[in-house]
Assembly symmetry: C2
Homo-oligomer: 197 residues x 2
């Protein structure tokens, strides 16, 4: 009864056209050359590349192909909810509610079973409990660290971040999902955050 089910391919093409708007969501973090802020679409591509390049440094139970899919999808909610930098997140519950609504709308554009599968993958990423999600989260957290190191501070300067805050907000999550990465970056972090004469 009622309206005919939407044709699956048509629904998918409309979803892909709507997804294009992620290219217009600006992040606080800059590109590594320091010339401009990056957007969430190119950030998501960069993370997809991280997921392809770094699986050797993940826990053995991680299935990198699932982490990769999560990272391609993880920021779509920002089309409606915007990007809130980790160092400027003052009301986590409010932002979470915005992202929930965005997920319902955006994944709801897809044919039912596919939309539900994508939503489940995004929920898993957000929960950050499964090994695949913990690895994906670690990459999402470490990429801006590399951008800040490449641009002599970047958002650390903008948000007056201390080494201790970085450890608590970022380091713990990177360690959990990709410990060797954090260890490799620590000497450069200690040097950047140490008092300068």
């Amino acid at each position: 009864a009622g309206l005919p089910a939407p044709e699956p391919l048509g629904a998918r093409l409309r979803f892909l056209a709507e997804a294009d708007r992620l290219k217009g969501v600006l992040r606080a973090t800059g590109t590594f050359d320091g010339t401009r802020r990056e957007n969430s679409a190119e950030h998501s591509w960069h993370l997809a590349l991280y997921a392809i390049v770094l699986p050797e440094h993940a826990a053995p139970e991680v299935r990198p192909a699932r982490s990769l899919k999560m990272l391609v999808l993880h920021d779509l909610v920002e089309i409606d909810a915007g990007d809130v930098p980790v160092h400027a997140l003052h009301d986590a519950a409010l932002q979470a509610a915005r992202e929930e609504r965005a997920a319902a709308r955006l994944f709801g554009l897809l044919p039912g079973p596919q939309g539900a599968a994508f939503r489940a993958l995004w929920d898993e990423f957000e929960a950050a409990v499964s090994p695949d999600a913990v690895f994906a989260k670690a990459l999402d957290r470490v990429q801006p660290v590399m951008a800040n190191l490449a641009t002599d501070g970047g958002t650390w300067t903008a948000y007056a971040v201390t080494r201790e805050q970085l450890e608590a907000r970022v380091g713990t999550k990177v360690r959990r999902g990709a410990a060797p990465l954090w260890s490799a970056l620590e000497p450069r972090l200690d040097a950047w955050f140490s008092p300068r004469d």
Copy 2:
């Protein structure tokens, strides 16, 4: 003898930092809102999403996870070789030689076996013979078509493309890897290219 082998994680982090430059390679195609040209990094993210959303419309033998990896990697060579629009490719052999050199340099930044595996995947994509590559190529060709439809012509207007040229340069490749996509778009293409009163 000689220099110590580069530490694998360090080499990977340098590769990922170098890859950031893809965000600075501009394509002829615009974002779907028509406000600016897209860059090859955000284009690659969009294609990764296509590969996750559209496997149901690929040939049954396609392994979408491999096509997805190819699409994340496929444009990295443009960091050195630049993007040449399909409707403005006048010396294919010259551009291919440039891309070969770029692939050697960029994938050469990675630890040997990983660099070789990525290079093999990129060669497979370029050859466009395997089902995974044919599907990936079809998506790479169809995304700018959707961008042009969203922006009332886009590069078709800029390069004075005819319906016949679009069929030869683009349609044949989309049909080969994802026939239902081309069929779904054809009515809109016929309408856009038909003479206007």
